[in-house]
């Protein structure tokens, strides 16, 4: 394994988290958008409340425009994508130019989606880019530790989002298992007590979603 600084280990983790946040929030938005077309115009308020983001949007149209591409909205998908980009761009030495190109492409595709009347078509391309990024992470990053740190970031973020959205029990159980298997294969420092509690929560009939979110977010000790 190559030498890696604390800063870059942190960036790898957050690259995983932000790329997952972009991917999952784009997919969740797609579900909500579909309902907003002709069934439930105010569904965006529910969306915001479940994701625990402030509902600063004045209408369905305002939400659809700003939540996707507004640079000034810190919760927009665009802002989260730029955070992924900011982490990726300083990791060229660790992960190589090729994986970064997919994050770069997703930024271009996101910008293109600004002018589209059908936002889901543009977002689909962003999702494709992120999926390709994960594929290339698996394929091209030889250092197992680095690869796994990105994936731990991804798993933590997914658990956080699934917890907030109170997804079904099976989804939470699956993500806890994936995270448990992955984190043990990194050199990340993490709280074993928290992980144990997460595993225990996943065995229970009724998931304590708030606790899942809290444990996922405080799992890392660095």
């Amino acid at each position: 394994m190559g030498i890696i600084s604390v800063e870059n280990m942190d960036r790898l983790f957050w690259l995983g988290r932000y790329s997952e946040r972009v991917y999952t929030s784009a997919r969740l938005f797609a579900d909500s958008f579909d309902r907003m077309i002709d069934m439930d115009m105010d569904n965006y308020a529910v969306f915001c409340s479940r994701l625990d983001i402030p509902n600063i949007y004045g209408s369905k149209e305002d939400f659809c425009e700003r939540y996707i591409t507004d640079e000034e909205d810190p919760n927009s998908i665009y802002s989260n994508l730029m955070r992924a980009y900011d982490n990726a761009i300083v990791l060229r030495n660790e992960i190589g130019s090729e994986p970064i190109t997919y994050i770069q492409l997703s930024v271009y595709d996101m910008k293109k989606s600004r002018v589209m009347r059908a936002p889901l078509v543009g977002l689909q391309k962003v999702e494709d880019d992120i999926l390709a990024f994960w594929g290339i992470v698996d394929d091209m990053i030889e250092d197992e530790n680095m690869r796994n740190i990105i994936k731990v970031g991804k798993r933590v973020e997914r658990l956080d989002l699934y917890g907030r959205l109170q997804m079904n029990r099976e989804s939470i159980v699956r993500e806890v298992h994936r995270l448990t298997g992955r984190i043990a294969r990194t050199n990340l420092r993490y709280d074993e007590k928290n992980l144990k509690e997460l595993k225990k929560l996943a065995e229970e009939e009724q998931i304590d979603y708030d606790r899942v979110v809290a444990l996922a977010d405080t799992l890392r000790k660095d």
Binding site: I3, S5, N8, R92, N93, G96, I100, T101, N187
Partner: protein, 438 residues
């Protein structure tokens, strides 16, 4: 002659964007990343012509290396009055802490970027020597990779020296002086104009990219500190930060991007710094005037490459000439770089001229004056038409056991038809530089 590659411009530019081939720029105190405009028509240098340039560039860099060693050592060139003392010691690039310090293997100018222009008669002139942190090699390197991908037929048809070996050359240069330990590329960070290049070189050479925060000095050695707190010894640092910010304990004490005491480690010979601190004394625009004299003095040879005709207002005779031919000259502030501080006398108003001449008389050491060379124009494609533009060539010379000239270079062009300024920071673009192998 139409090269097939020029019909693939759109593909090439899409790929350059995909690979994030950018440079950073500050506008109104805000950092922006911009794609570096690329033109697919290459500058083509014939094999024999490059052989001539290669010989001249090697000679020039050898002499410059001798000069730096001498200035911080015996100072023979000053004692022999070839270069006036005051030109050396008042140069902002002269750093007193470098006196008596000899770098590993006596190499100061590990990576030199020599800016050349070609006159309309085909003669080459050196415009500037860059011996501190010359940037730009990464751009033709990645552009070539992308051009080959976009138009393989072009490279079947033309026999062009492969320039993708730059990373190998750079690694060799770093390893050659490494004192034992890891090789690091030191960057000021993400918001530096040339960050793309720093990270790209780190990837391609296999060196570690680090900021000052990741390096520390302990017991006279330099270490990279990894995530677990483990210290790994560093033997060579290709630093992409200026001398003054390198070590707050020796140079600018306000530097927050440097590494405290790194200069002490270097002084003791425990780490190599590429390029050596203090090189600015030799690429000062005022010292440039003396480079042909250095070639004669140190190497006993006639200079192969010529300077652009230059005058030093510091000398009375030259001042007289400058005043008499003011309108025909370009004036350069020796302390400025990046195309800044360059004024063409014929573009000044009468009032500006009067003020400038007064300033020149007050501070004659601050400026050099040069004849305006009528550069040979190079075609670029603009709005689907070929149009001529001014262009220069930055050639890269790397020093190992002897100087090695990279068989390519960065050709920068002005996008403004009325301008001679080619710098990217001022809107210029770049081209690949082909050196024909047959």
């Amino acid at each position: 002659m139409e090269i097939e590659l020029t019909r693939r411009a759109e593909t090439v530019n899409e790929l350059l964007a995909r690979y994030g081939v950018k440079f950073g720029i500050y506008k109104n105190n805000e950092f922006k990343e911009q794609l570096f405009p690329f033109d697919t028509i290459p500058r083509i240098i014939k094999k024999e012509e490059f052989a001539y340039l290669e010989k001249g560039l090697k000679q020039r860099v050898m002499a410059l290396n001798c000069f730096i060693r001498d200035v911080y050592g015996d100072r023979k060139i000053i004692r022999d009055k070839v270069v006036p003392e005051e030109f050396v010691y008042i140069s902002s690039g002269y750093l007193a802490p470098c006196d008596g310090v000899v770098p590993p293997r006596g190499i100061y100018t590990h990576i030199a970027g020599i800016d050349l222009v070609q006159g309309k008669d085909g003669s080459w002139y050196v415009l500037e020597d860059n011996l501190r942190v010359p940037s730009g090699a990464s751009y033709p390197m990645i552009a070539r990779e992308i051009c080959r991908k976009s138009s393989p037929g072009t490279f079947e048809e033309y026999h062009v020296e492969d320039n993708r070996d730059y990373a190998k050359l750079l690694r060799w240069t770093m390893d050659y002086v490494n004192t034992g330990g890891h090789t690091v590329i030191l960057t000021p960070g993400r918001y530096n104009a040339a960050y793309f290049e720093h990270s790209y070189f780190a990837e391609k050479t296999g060196a570690h990219l680090a900021t000052g925060r990741e390096l520390t000095v302990e017991d006279d050695y330099l270490y990279f500190v990894d995530y677990s707190g483990r210290r790994e010894k560093v033997g060579a640092v290709y630093r992409r930060i200026s001398d003054e910010y390198l070590d707050p304990m020796t140079f600018n004490e306000e530097s927050v991007i440097g590494i405290p005491h790194i200069y002490d480690v270097y002084r003791k010979g425990h780490v190599a710094l590429l390029n050596a601190p203090g090189n600015g004394v030799a690429d000062d625009k005022g010292i440039y005037y003396f480079v042909p004299k250095m070639v004669r003095y140190y190497l006993g040879e006639e200079p192969i490459l010529q300077n652009a005709p230059t005058y030093l207002p510091y000398y009375e005779e030259d001042m007289q000439y400058v005043l008499e031919h003011f309108d025909d000259l370009v004036l350069k502030d020796v302390a400025e770089a990046g195309g800044y501080g360059v004024v063409f006398a014929n573009k000044m108003t009468a009032g500006q001229k009067e003020d400038f001449i007064a300033l020149l008389k007050r501070e004659p050491r601050r400026f050099i004056a040069q004849e305006v060379i009528d550069f040979k124009d190079i075609d670029i494609v603009e709005n689907a038409k070929r149009v001529p533009r001014k262009a220069d060539l930055r050639a890269f010379v790397l020093m190992v056991d002897e100087p090695v000239v990279w068989k390519s270079g960065l050709t920068r062009f002005s996008r403004n038809p009325d301008s001679f300024i080619v710098n990217s920071s001022q809107g210029g673009g770049f081209k690949d530089t082909w050196v024909l192998s047959q």
